[in-house]
């Protein structure tokens, strides 16, 4: 900028024009328009780098609190709709009503006890599912005989939706907690098994070769190479498993239960208590987000070697 402004602009213009004339293409090539306006042939001016005009491609820089804007806008719309009477409270009660219901449900202990029942079911199912899925994946991933016995049945199980097995499991196990936890476990086992087994089998051939040239023992090979290499696959399976765990929970609690969040929602439906249904959904959302957060935290811990340039 200073460079341009400190020079007599007129003089520079003339100078440029003269120089351009000598650089101008032969007359046969020059179109009449370019001849009449030599400025179009002017080489790009020197531009101060702090005032670059060109925008970067892509959506541009991140907006502060970008993630929160959508939900807040939704909440405001909801509040406005309820305040101005646009939303029938039987369809969707006002946010404040929901908060009040939350308070009531906590005050008489219903929310806590149902929440606890549901959490125990989900965590038991998830826990059993992870242990069984991992065990099967390791056996089938590390031995051909294990794979021959385990992999086929799991693939068949995968083809049968777990929820379709509810009638059979009710006949076998009754309608108590055992049946509910079993359903959740069966749902969780599949993604854990699939992704862990896949990862165990997909270990890079180059690392196997390395282990051979280093004369590593079978045990070292397993502990240093195979198992840590399969952790990303397991964690991917875990994310699917957690989602499936909540889905299964909702279904088993709404089909036949006398306690739990699903039961609470189902009961509220019979009495037309929309606000309680919403409270239940909010709790589900919270559980879903919280468990996803836990898995992501676990990922960050276990996969710290993947983070580029930590320093």
């Amino acid at each position: 900028m200073t460079y341009v402004s400190s020079s007599p602009s007129r003089g520079l213009d003339v100078l440029d024009r003269e120089r351009l004339a000598s650089f101008a293409p032969p007359a046969s090539h020059a179109s009449p328009t370019s001849h009449s306006s030599p400025t179009s042939l002017r080489p790009p001016a020197i531009v101060e780098t702090s005032t670059r005009r060109r925008r970067r491609l892509g959506p541009g820089p991140a907006i502060p609190f970008g993630l929160q804007i959508g939900p807040i806008a939704l909440l405001l719309t909801w509040t406005a709709g309820s305040t101005f009477g646009l939303l029938d409270p039987r369809i969707l009660p006002a946010p404040l009503t929901i908060v009040a219901t939350f308070g009531d449900l906590i005050a008489d202990g219903r929310l806590q006890s149902n929440f606890l029942t549901s959490s125990v079911r989900a965590l038991l199912g998830l826990g059993f599912g992870i242990v069984i899925g991992l065990l099967l994946a390791v056996i089938s991933g590390l031995s051909r005989i294990g794979e021959a016995f385990i992999d086929g049945p799991i693939q068949i199980k995968r083809a049968v939706p777990t929820l379709a097995m509810i009638p059979l499991l009710m006949l076998w196990l009754g309608i108590g907690e055992t049946m509910k936890v079993t359903i959740i476990t069966l749902g969780v086992v599949v993604p854990i098994y699939m992704h862990t087994h896949n990862a165990l089998r997909a270990i890079d051939e180059r690392y196997v070769e390395l282990a051979e040239t280093l004369s590593m023992s079978q045990r070292d090979f397993l502990v240093q190479v195979i198992l840590p290499g399969a952790v990303p696959g397991f964690l991917l399976g875990l994310r699917f498993a957690v989602t499936l765990c909540w889905v299964s929970l909702v279904v088993v609690e709404q089909i036949n239960a006398t306690s739990g969040l699903g039961y609470m929602i189902e009961l509220a439906r019979t009495y037309g208590q929309t606000q309680i249904i919403i409270v239940g959904l909010v709790v589900y959302a919270f559980l879903g987000l919280a468990s996803d957060g836990v898995v992501r935290l676990l990922e960050r811990r276990l996969l710290s070697w993947r983070r580029t340039l930590a320093h």
Binding site: M216, G229, R307
Partner: protein
């Protein structure tokens, strides 16, 4: 300095033949490498260099073939990629399979390759040259009698490669393993090796002892002569190239 003057050779290869189906990759190869001898193996791509190295390393299970070979028990391979386990930190990679006992030696080896203090870094945090240094330390810590290197600097940029040459030369002078360096880089071979072999269509067509003492200079006329000779062996006419 002739190989037969030594009491026992590090490597002995007799009539080694390797085939992939109908194609003969290694054809009746005989070779001896003396203790502490630095041998470079040159060849065009597809000449069988890597197959030969893999045969020496014992990594050619499913390859058809005949012949006899003897290699030392303590043998180490440096691959073209550093081949570090990304989920193990630097010192764990160096002492892989050695347990806690190798830790002190591992630290010393890292110091030797100029990476002291980077023990707990993850491989992904290192540059390509640094990763290859870790791979060298991993070999070094095992005190190999034979070091097999399969184009170890092929993936590095030219400046880093020169630095790595100095480092490798220094390490080999200090530890004296026998080395077989597979490369396609003629200059690399001349500046590092005591002896240069050229492999062509599965046969050794050249076995050249380099006796330039001290540090080898690209400007040295002997360097240039050897270079021309090797290049013509590899089917590249050096004069044509300079004329063009």
């Amino acid at each position: 300095m002739a190989p037969h003057a030594r009491p026992l050779n590090a490597v002995e290869v007799r009539r080694l033949t390797r085939r992939f189906g109908e194609v003969t990759i290694l054809d009746n190869l005989d070779l001896e490498i003396g203790q502490g001898e630095f041998v470079a193996l040159l060849g065009k791509s597809g000449s069988g260099k890597s197959t030969f190295l893999r045969a020496l390393a014992g990594l050619d299970y499913e390859v058809e073939g005949t012949g006899a070979l003897r290699t030392p028990e303590k043998l180490s391979v440096v691959f073209q990629d550093a081949r570090l386990l990304p989920w193990r930190n630097v010192i764990q990679n160096v002492t892989l399979g050695l347990g806690g006992a190798g830790r002190e030696a591992g630290r010393k080896a890292l110091e030797e390759v100029g990476l002291a203090g980077r023990e707990t870094a993850w491989p992904i945090q290192l540059s390509g040259g640094e990763q290859q240094r870790v791979a060298l330390a991993r070999s070094l810590v095992r005190e190999p009698a034979l070091l097999l290197a399969d184009e170890p600097f092929g993936a590095l940029d030219a400046l880093t490669r020169l630095k790595m040459h100095d480092l490798l030369r220094e390490l080999c002078t200090r530890h004296r393993p026998a080395v077989l360096l597979v490369t396609h880089d003629v200059d690399e071979a001349i500046s590092l090796a005591d002896r240069i072999l050229v492999l062509d269509q599965g046969r050794l067509v050249e076995d050249l002892t380099i006796d330039i003492k001290g540090r080898r200079n690209h400007g040295d006329p002997r360097f240039g002569a050897i270079r021309t000779q090797l290049l013509s062996r590899l089917g590249v006419d050096a004069d044509d190239r300079s004329a063009a």
